[in-house]
C-alpha cells in the first residue's frame, strides 16, 4: 500500500489531469448516454432552484401587470356601470313621459334643462330651445307631473324659464274638486302657498289644485300642487293654505314647452 501512496503523491498532478481528461473524453464520446444523466442531474441540482425563483419573479411580475390591468378595467367598468345606471334612470323618466298628452289646443315641445339659477329655491332655468323652435315669451312650461313655469325671455337657441318657485311668479288656480279659485305664489318662508282663498271656501288637505286658465298665460287644467295644510283664521277673510308642488323642482330634467297650435 505504501508504494501506491508514494506513486499517487509523486504523480498527483498527472493523475488529476488524466482523470479530468478521461471525464471529458467520456462526455465528448457520450459513453452509455451518460451526458443525458449528467445533464438531468445538473439541471435538477443547479438550475432548477434558480428556474423556480425566475418563474416566481415572472409570475409576480405578471400578477403586478394583471393587477394594473384589472384595476384599469375595474375603473372603466365602474364608469360604464354608472353610465348605464344613468341611462336606466333616464329610461324610467322617459317611459313615464310617454303617453303624456298636452292640454287641448297645445303641442308639446320637449326641452332639456341646461342650468338653473337661485340659491335656496330655483328662480329661473335655461332650456335648449329658442325662437328657432318657435318658442315665445309667456309660453307655459310643464313636465309629466305638472306646471313648471313660463318662458321669461328667449334667444334663437335658448329660453329662460321663470319657475313656479320664483316668488314673483303668480298662477291663478282652481281646486279640482270644488272649482273654487285662488292664486298660488312661492313664499321663501312657507313654500308654495295659496292666496285669496276665502275662509268659507271648500278646500281640504289632499285637494289637487289646477291652473284655472285665467290671466292668459297658463292654460287651464295643469296640475300645480296638492294641499298639505289649511288654516282658517278667525277674523280674517282668507285661508292660509300650503301646497306641495306637483312637479319636483329639485330634480328637473326633461321639460315640455306648451306651444299653441294656432302659431
Amino acid at each position: 500500500m505504501t508504494w501506491i501512496s508514494s506513486v499517487v503523491t509523486k504523480y498527483r498532478r498527472n493523475i488529476n489531469v488524466f482523470l479530468a481528461l478521461s471525464i471529458c473524453t467520456i462526455l465528448i464520446l457520450d459513453f452509455f448516454g451518460i451526458n443525458q444523466y449528467v445533464s438531468q442531474g445538473g439541471l435538477a441540482s443547479f438550475h432548477a432552484p434558480f428556474s423556480k425563483i425566475k418563474h416566481t419573479i415572472e409570475e409576480l411580475s405578471d400578477v403586478a401587470i394583471h393587477n394594473v390591468e384589472l384595476r384599469q378595467s375595474l375603473v372603466e367598468a365602474s364608469l360604464r356601470l354608472e353610465e348605464l345606471e344613468e341611462m336606466k334612470r333616464e329610461n324610467i323618466r322617459l317611459r313615464s313621459v310617454l303617453g303624456f298628452d298636452p292640454p287641448p289646443g297645445y303641442s308639446l315641445l320637449p326641452a332639456r334643462m341646461m342650468s338653473i339659477t337661485g340659491e335656496k329655491n330655483g328662480i329661473s332655468a335655461v332650456v335648449n330651445r329658442g325662437t328657432n323652435d318657435s318658442v315665445a315669451i309667456n309660453q307655459s312650461v310643464i313636465n309629466q307631473r305638472g306646471l313648471i313655469g313660463r318662458v321669461m325671455s328667449v334667444t334663437s337657441d335658448y329660453a329662460t324659464i321663470q319657475l313656479l318657485t320664483d316668488p314673483k311668479n303668480r298662477v291663478a288656480v282652481r281646486v279640482a274638486s270644488s272649482r273654487e279659485m285662488g292664486i298660488v305664489r312661492y313664499s321663501l318662508s312657507s313654500g308654495l302657498i295659496v292666496e285669496n282663498f276665502q275662509v268659507q271656501g271648500r278646500i281640504v288637505v289632499g285637494d289637487l289644485l289646477l291652473s284655472s286658465g285665467l290671466g292668459g298665460i297658463y292654460p287651464g287644467g295643469l296640475a300645480v300642487g296638492t294641499v298639505t295644510s289649511v288654516e282658517r283664521p278667525k277674523e280674517e277673510p282668507f285661508c292660509n293654505i300650503k301646497l306641495l308642488p306637483a312637479a319636483d323642482f329639485s330634480s328637473l330634467e326633461e321639460l315640455f314647452i306648451l306651444r299653441p297650435n294656432n302659431l
Binding site: 479530468a20 471529458c24 465528448i28 445538473g42 443547479f46 438550475h47 434558480f50
Partner: protein, 161 residues
C-alpha cells in the same frame, strides 16, 4: 482544498445563466461569467482548483446541451490550467498584465465556444456577439481586479461625493 467556495461559484454561474444573464445584458453583450470565474480561480488558487473548477464550470455552463457538454468542460479545464501556468511563468503583479491574461483567456474561450456551438456563423458571431461580450466581460474583470487590488475602495467612492 475547500470546496464550499467553488460550489458557491458554480451556483453563481447557474444563477447567472438562468436569471441574471438577461437582466445584465447590454444589447448583444453578456458577461461570460463561467470563463471569468475560472480565470480568476486560476490566477488566485492552485492548479488543481483551476483544473477541476474549470471542468465543472464547463459542465454547468453547458448543462442544457448534453451533446457539447464534454467539449465545454474540456475547454474551460484547459483554459484554467493554461491560465494557472501563465500566471506562474509571467510576472502578474500589474493589474494590466492580469487583465491582458484575462482578456486572452476570455477571447480564446468565447471563440472556442462559438466554434463548438455554431461553426457556420463564426465570423458573423465574432463581430456581433463575441467582441461585445469580450469587452463587457473585460470591463467586469477590470472592475473586479480594481476592487481586489484596492484601487477602488468604499472610502475613495465616498470621497468622490
Amino acid at each position: 482544498m475547500k470546496i464550499l467556495p467553488y460550489i458557491f461559484y458554480l451556483l453563481l454561474i447557474s444563477a447567472h445563466m438562468v436569471i441574471l444573464k438577461d437582466a445584465t445584458a447590454i444589447g448583444p453583450a453578456t458577461i461570460n461569467l463561467s470563463a471569468l470565474l475560472v480565470l480568476v480561480v486560476a490566477m488566485y488558487k492552485s492548479e488543481f482548483a483551476a483544473l477541476w473548477f474549470g471542468l465543472f464550470a464547463g459542465l454547468i455552463a453547458s448543462i442544457g446541451d448534453p451533446s457539447v457538454m464534454g467539449w465545454h468542460a474540456l475547454v474551460l479545464a484547459a483554459i484554467g490550467m493554461s491560465a494557472f501556468h501563465a500566471r506562474e511563468k509571467l510576472n502578474l503583479d500589474s493589474i494590466y498584465a492580469k487583465l491582458l491574461l484575462m482578456l486572452s483567456g476570455l477571447f480564446i474561450h468565447t471563440v472556442l465556444v462559438v466554434l463548438i456551438n455554431q461553426r457556420d456563423d463564426f465570423f458573423y458571431l465574432l463581430w456581433s456577439s463575441v467582441l461585445p461580450a469580450l469587452l463587457y466581460t473585460g470591463m467586469s474583470a477590470w472592475l473586479f481586479f480594481a476592487i481586489k487590488e484596492g484601487r477602488i475602495t468604499f472610502r475613495k467612492l465616498k470621497a468622490i461625493f
